[in-house]
Each structure stands twice: as C-alpha cells, then as structure tokens.
C-alpha cells in the first residue's frame, strides 16, 4: 500500500471494501477519509457500500429458508452413520 496521502478512486474503493470487513488499517482509513471528503462519487459509494453490507449480512444470517430435510433423507443419514459405527 502506497505511502502517499492522496489516493485515487481505485485505491479508495478497495480500502472502502476492506473496511467493510474491518481489514483496513489506520493509515488506510485516514487516507480514505480524506479522499471521501474530496470525492463525491466515492463518498456515495462508501455510504451505499455500508448499506449493502448491512442488508446482505442481515439477510444471509437471519433468513435461511428453513427447509426441513425429508425424513427419508434423515433415515438414510442415520443408517449410514450406524454402518460406520459398526
């Protein structure tokens, strides 16, 4: 990662993505903050990116489709497990 203070949109969007997973370091976050202050497009990307993280994360974690495995599949699992035990 470059030591330059001023970064381009390419680097800014990468840092923005990393920070969605808490993987941007302090220096990167600082450079990003300055870039966002100056760049409207990236600033919008950053806001929308946060929202994207939130909705997709909540969705994927909270809404598994709660499918029940059919009983015959479970019975099949059980007999295979038994076979391996014996």
């Amino acid at each position: 990662m470059s030591r330059k203070l001023m970064i381009d949109c390419n680097e800014a969007s990468t840092i923005c993505d990393k920070s969605q997973y808490n993987e941007a370091n302090g220096w990167e976050k600082f450079k990003l903050r300055i870039h966002l202050f100056l760049c409207k497009k990236c600033s919008m990307y950053s806001e929308q990116n946060k929202l994207m993280t939130r909705i997709f994360c909540e969705h994927l974690l909270n809404h598994p489709d709660h499918i029940h495995l059919p009983e015959n599949v479970k019975d099949d699992f059980k007999s295979k497990l038994k076979k391996q035990v014996n």
């Binding site: 381009d8 949109c9 497009k41 929308q48 994207m52 709660h66």
Partner: protein
Amino acid sequence: MSNLSDSENNKLDPDRWIDLYADYLFNYTTSRIDDIEQAKDIVQETFLAALKAMKNYRGEASERTWLVSILKRKIIDQYRKMNSKKGKAEIRVSFYEEGGKKGKWLEECVPQSWGNEAEIEFETQELGVALNKCLEALPDKYKAVFKMKTIDNIETEEICNELNITASNLWVIIHRARLQLRKCMEESWFKK
C-alpha cells in the same frame, strides 16, 4: 453409545445428531451452497467426518458448534472444487482493464444516488426476494468469496490459501461482487 470425550463439559452423542442438527446444518449449507443435492451430500459427509473425528473432541465447544466447524471445512472444500473447475485465469486482472482511465470510476460503474436509502425497510419478504435474485446472478466464484467474507468472516489469508489466489485478487473479486450486487439492487429495488 458411549462418548469418547474425556471432558466433563460437553459430550458427544452421535445417536442424536441427525434429529438434533441435520436441519440446522442443512440450512446453514444451503445459505452458502445453492445446489440442494450438493448441500445434502455435504451434510452427510460432515456427520461421517465428525464420527471419525470424535476422539479429537475436547468438549470445549458445544456439540453443535463443533459440528459446524467441521461443516465449514466441507463447504470450503466445495468452494475450492468450484474454483478449480472454473479455472483461475479469469480473475488475474485489475479493476480498470477495460480501457478506463487509471484510478477513475468507469462510466458504467459510477455510483448513482438512490435517493431512498433512508426509507429502506429491513426484513420485508420482497427485499429478501430481491437480495436472493441479485446473489444468484453473481458468478459462482464471486458469490463464494462474497459469502465467505460477509457471513462467515473467514480470514482473507485463509480464503486466499484455499482458493489459491492473492489478497489483491480477493479484493478485486469482492469489489466486483459488490459493484454487481449494487447495480442489481439499484435496478430491482432502489430505483423503484
């Protein structure tokens, strides 16, 4: 059946595994692997692998957590298989290879204002449908990496090792997945 763990804390009881955990593990898998048949196989393999690994169980984690940790390995294996099938060349490129000005947003990727971000209602069924549709439209590899990072919080280094990609490849994939998801949600949801 006796349990093989020495620990006083948690015990393993394979006779009850299927009844107690099969549905949970199956749902855990289907939120990460789209193919139902593959998901069934993975759950089955998980139980069989767990049986073999029982002597390594230290009783520190709950039975379910322990089974999930085995399941995660199986899911990563599946991702890796998907990865090797598709070939690795396609992702060895940078953000702006399509003749865009270096470091600037490409025309078609420039973020648009949605205007109604604040009004978004979470947890509605329609939103769920839209999110699923957009996820399904992602290329397999993008979807796998996006899910591994976003819901499983798997370390970047681990994903890179498993999928044999570099960290910068990984961030390119994440960025593209997010761009595509954003565009899809923009069209199907935010601009409505």
